[in-house]
Symmetry: C2
Subunit: 146 residues, 2 copies
DNA sequence: ATGTATGCAAAACATTTGCACCTGG
DNA sequence: CCAGGTGCAAATGTTTTGCATACAT
């Protein structure tokens, strides 16, 4: 349950934190948009009539990241996306038109990465693989706005 | 030759453009640092006594990118890195401590990416794979400042 | 000449931080 | 009650833009 997740992270269970975690879980309204920018979270809260400062959203997201509750991604463009950490590592397939994000995991790729890091004497800490393209909807007719 | 590359891009051959292209080719002084931020380029120019505005550096780099002369990467942190485009696609192994960047290309990974995009019905346009870790120098003693 | 490029300063963003006030345990 | 959290506004760092001047062709 959300409350225990926050407590477990060594943070006080406050209203803003619970609301933000809930947004990350539900993605706002329609599901699917699990990859949100700080400002998306802020805007969704406003839409719901919840008043939380943008600075707080940033602070909380950063704390959640430090606690391993969410992960931060730098797709293209200056802004970061946040996503609930569900324990399972995965990479992203991102639609360059509508922004849709599909997650995937490929063991062959994971294995090659470990090999490559080793070949160059690097300690493997993390990686980000983003495949950019057009999703089926955008190849066809109208993009589905995210 | 650098001059023809600029002309070929439909841009006038000006001093700032030639200087910036040269910095990207030589990486400043010691070789190796081929992945530079806009401000790195600006600073290197200053060091050489060349006076070029930072805004111009940004403008020129953006134009070069549009012309396919350089490519822009968003590693971690708010800033972008620019690198001379040498026609050969490759991915990056980045040291999270000293910022050193090693390029690599793995055909097995490339192939799996094509397969994954296809499986999800995506048109593959591009991708970025950054493996983050500690380079040999940083694992041992002192990091080599970039 | 003349359409582009440049430099500077100001604007635009995304994100962070200082500080007085508020709140959860 | 009190440490920690929040809101607001101001600060930061990066990148973009407006505009008058300078330059390549």
């Amino acid at each position: 349950m959300t409350e225990s997740q926050i407590k477990q992270a060594g943070l006080k269970v406050t209203l803003p934190r619970m609301k933000i975690l809930e947004i990350l879980e539900t993605g706002g309204e329609g599901e699917g948009a699990r990859h949100l920018r700080a400002e998306d979270v802020y805007r969704i809260l406003l839409t719901r009539g919840e008043v939380v400062g943008l600075a707080t959203v940033y602070r909380v997201l950063t704390q959640f990241e430090a606690a391993g509750l969410v992960s931060r991604h730098n797709f293209e463009g200056g802004h970061a996306f946040f996503e609930l950490e569900r324990g399972t590592h995965h990479d992203h397939l991102v639609c360059i038109k509508c922004g849709r994000v599909v997650e995937f995991l490929d063991e062959a790729i994971e294995e090659r990465q470990r090999a490559i890091a080793a070949e160059h004497g690097f300690t493997l800490e993390d990686h980000t693989l983003n495949i950019l393209g057009l999703c089926p909807n955008c190849q066809a007719g109208q993009p589905r706005p995210s």
